[in-house]
């Protein structure tokens, strides 16, 4: 492959998708490469889904700067990209009198970061906000600008908008090395061939250190995965309405109990640094940790009502603080390195990475401008990514109209979450196509209810097989190597069963 691009983004997480979207506003051929079978399969789809207010990051850090700059962008973003987003505010809850000063200190830090709309609540007020809160609550910080979203929907919406505006997204395409001309990066080698570009942007998440080292940049920078495990609770049994944080510790923001936009409650994450960047396994110790943490905020929470778990890895980097002189070394790296031409380097974009993504995208473009790139704005850039109908959220009348318009919406495939065949087919043929079971699950929320795929799995495999024109034996859960079916029942070389 000898395709020549202007901009090439490595990594299809929320940051890469937002960068691609922002770059798509300008003239130039744009390519985003992603090594997995779907966009956003790394940290971007396995996090707490919070759009942070910004009181938590250290003042003077790039994390704080990006967080506070990005937070107000989300209303417009949600409107343009049509993903679900709500500002319910964050609560940092102090349990016991000794925690109250810590929460007040957090508010001060937020003021220093420039966070608007923060209010201190007393215990009684907090109890009225969340009925089942620990009775030992002594007060809370209410940061009204905090919000919740579906992080995968955000990622896929941004990526689709980039595609609508002319970008190319290649899935199953893994970066292997750079292509050089002197000290200028002119392209990348991948498992699917070479791609040439005037600019290459490293947005590889948990592997961003490996990528930048291939460019000889920051050999001392390393990403260590910080594992976060989560529980999801049955919405019929557990109704938490708010986003509840405990008082943070040195290990991070702590184990939250939070409502989600799917009306479930999730508990998590814990924070354990591990070595293996592919280790997304759930642990017994982790589950115990989660339960203890959850009970601190909501003592009545019962494990019996959990219906699922998930695990995310945060790309914790050892980048120095953006503001020199501050003793902090887990900050973001966002730079155009002086040692390499044609390369934008990002590393360590952990929390508040999701929140910061739109501001990071703007910063990347600004850095490229500073480095001499002359952008020409496209005459017609469409900021809108149109919404797709969701049967589950429609009224009876709306459903009737939808079914009359396209009978495939009349066939319900996931009974627990009311997802129809019409929606599934739409996602399979979307601008970023969903070609695996998990890809459809992330987009439609099917299979996440009480039966966890018991009814829909067989039917989705059949639909994928039909729509993609492949044998059911080739349909996968999350990409090659995760096929469902091994052979036909009657296909047998070994004929004796004794």
């Amino acid at each position: 492959m000898q395709e020549k691009y202007d901009y090439l983004v490595i990594g299809g997480g929320v940051v890469g998708a937002m960068i691609a979207r922002w770059l798509s506003r300008y003239e130039g051929k744009l390519l985003l490469i992603e090594k997995e079978a779907d966009i956003g399969m790394g940290s971007s789809s396995a996090n707490t889904a919070i759009v942070h207010a910004g009181y938590d990051p250290l003042p003077g850090s790039l994390k704080a700067l990006m967080n506070v700059r990005a937070n107000p962008m989300w209303d417009q973003l949600a409107g343009e990209l049509n993903f679900p987003f709500e500002r319910r505010g964050d609560y940092v809850v102090a349990i016991g009198e000794e925690e109250r000063p810590l929460v007040e200190k957090l508010m001060q830090q937020g003021i220093k970061n420039g966070v608007p709309g923060m209010v201190m609540l007393d215990a009684g007020e907090m109890r009225s906000r969340e009925r089942d809160i620990n009775p030992d609550v002594s007060g809370a910080l209410w940061a009204t600008t905090g919000g919740i979203c579906d992080p995968f929907q955000v990622t896929v919406a941004a990526a689709e908008n980039a595609v609508i505006n002319g970008a190319t997204v290649l899935l199953n395409t893994k970066f292997e090395d750079f292509i050089w001309e002197g000290n200028r990066v002119i392209g990348v080698k991948t498992n699917r061939g070479d791609f040439f570009a005037r600019w290459v942007i490293n947005s590889a998440g948990i592997y961003s250190d490996a990528v930048m080292h291939k460019a000889g940049v920051r050999p001392e920078f390393f990403i260590k995965p910080r594992k976060g495990e989560y529980f999801i609770f049955d919405r019929a049994e557990v109704q938490i309405h708010n986003v509840l944080f405990p008082v943070p510790s040195s290990r991070g923001k702590g184990i939250l109990v939070t409502a989600t936009l799917h009306e479930n409650t999730i508990v998590g994450p814990n924070a354990n640094v591990i070595d293996d960047k592919e280790d997304t396994s759930l642990t017994k110790e982790g589950m115990d940790e989660l339960l203890d943490g959850a009970k601190k905020l909501i003592p009545s929470l019962n494990l019996r009502h959990s219906i699922a778990n998930f695990v995310g890895l945060r790309p914790m980097g050892n980048g120095p603080c953006y503001t020199p002189g501050i003793n902090y070394n887990n900050d973001y790296v966002i730079e155009v390195p002086s040692s390499v031409q044609g390369f934008v380097n990002l590393g360590g974009i952990e929390s508040p990475g999701l929140t910061s993504a739109p501001a990071i995208a703007e910063m990347v473009v600004d850095l490229m401008k500073d480095a001499g790139e002359e952008f020409v704005a496209k005459k017609y850039w469409d900021p809108i990514r149109p919404p797709r109908p969701r049967f589950a959220h429609m009224t009876h009348q709306e459903r009737k109209l939808l079914c009359d318009m396209d009978p495939r919406y009349g066939r319900v495939i996931c009974r627990c979450e009311n997802v129809t065949e019409g929606e599934i087919i739409r996602e399979i043929h979307a601008p970023i196509p969903a070609t695996t079971y998990d890809a459809i699950k992330r987009r439609t929320w099917l299979g996440t209810g009480r039966c966890q795929g018991g009814f829909d799995m067989l039917r989705v495999v059949a639909i994928l097989s039909r729509e993609l024109g492949i044998s059911p034996l080739k349909v996968t859960k999350r990409g090659t190597g995760s096929e469902f079916l091994f052979r036909q029942t009657k296909d047998l070389e070994v004929s004796d069963v004794n």
Partner: protein, 121 residues
């Protein structure tokens, strides 16, 4: 003398049977609580029988497989051969329930019949 142990399947109770044999002859049965258990123990010790249920390939039907079963029991040691015979067969839709798919399978005197109707696609 040989002693064989079985769990009786004549009814859900599952009595633990001990069958004492001299060569091919049953000398004593212990542990049964009813006559059906005694019958079961004797049969199981001398010539255990089983019903076999499986599926055959169907062409042109609503589904690719048709469930079938032996209308009666066959010797347990020949289950593998019965399954091989079933695997070798392919039927064409439509099929009616109880239709004979393999008469007298492997000479056992027992037919393999269809468990359900299988309409055409």
């Amino acid at each position: 003398m040989e002693e064989k142990n079985f769990i009786c399947t004549a009814c859900p109770m599952g009595c633990k049977l001990i069958v004492r044999m001299e060569g091919d002859e049953v000398v004593k049965i212990l542990g049964q609580r009813c006559r059906r258990g005694e019958t079961y123990g004797r049969q199981e010790a001398i010539a255990p029988q089983r019903m076999v249920a499986s599926t055959v390939r169907v062409v042109g039907g609503l589904h690719p497989l048709l469930p079938v079963y032996t209308k009666g029991t066959i010797p347990k040691r020949r289950i593998g051969d019965v399954l091989a015979a079933i695997r070798a067969v392919e039927v064409k839709a439509p099929v009616k329930a109880t239709q004979v798919i393999i008469p007298n399978v492997i000479g056992t005197g027992v037919d393999v019949i269809a468990s359900r109707d299988m309409p055409e696609k």
